[in-house]
Symmetry: C2
Subunit: 116 residues, 2 copies
């Protein structure tokens, strides 16, 4: 039950609807009904997604009359980013290995092809 912050953040991001909501919020704060429009989903479902995002600290909700406008809070993404960045050298390394492999193929071709 007491899931760590990073797990909570990643779990919140592990859903295309929620990621789309965050993407929408980069355009600015907006209401729940507005957020719900692009989705073939009932409002309570969106409401739940928003609660997950709020729980992860990825959005905050204001109050304007009967609207509860949401706005992006990207803070938690910083930790997520930092965690992933630790692995950058590993994915770049494997691209290097691909590069090496391609180079290897090319040099192996040389003796045969001869045609430069």
């Amino acid at each position: 039950m007491p899931a760590d912050d990073l797990s909570t953040t990643f779990a919140a991001l592990a859903d295309p609807t929620r990621r789309a909501i965050l993407a929408r919020l980069t355009l600015g704060e907006t209401s729940v009904t507005e957020l719900a429009k692009p989705f073939e989903m009932t409002l309570p479902a969106i409401s739940k997604h928003l609660k997950v995002l709020e729980g992860a600290g990825l959005i905050r909700r204001g109050r304007k009359a009967q609207w509860r406008p949401c706005r992006l809070q990207a803070g938690p993404l910083k930790n997520a980013s930092n965690w992933i960045e630790q692995y950058r050298r590993f994915w770049e390394e494997s691209l290097d290995r691909l590069g090496d492999y391609l180079n290897e193929l090319r040099t192996k071709e040389k003796p045969d092809g001869e045609q430069e």
Copy 2:
């Protein structure tokens, strides 16, 4: 059921045990039993976590006699990183706002404190 790649990646990362396994694998390829050692968890449980990681393409498993050594495949993290990086300006922006706020506090203090 047909969850997109990004969701699968984030879901795989949304568990401290799995993140710890990935961290261990940065030190090099190793066996399942070896991977299981730091955890108070049965081997089948670890086996399941490995299956999740494998399903997300974050590890690959080899064969050496009765061992099935795992090694890190960081590729999918690249996409995850790219997705998150889209939001960098938003978390940096909010830090800016914090900076602004702190500056504001400081300038508001001046007239009162007077003592520099």
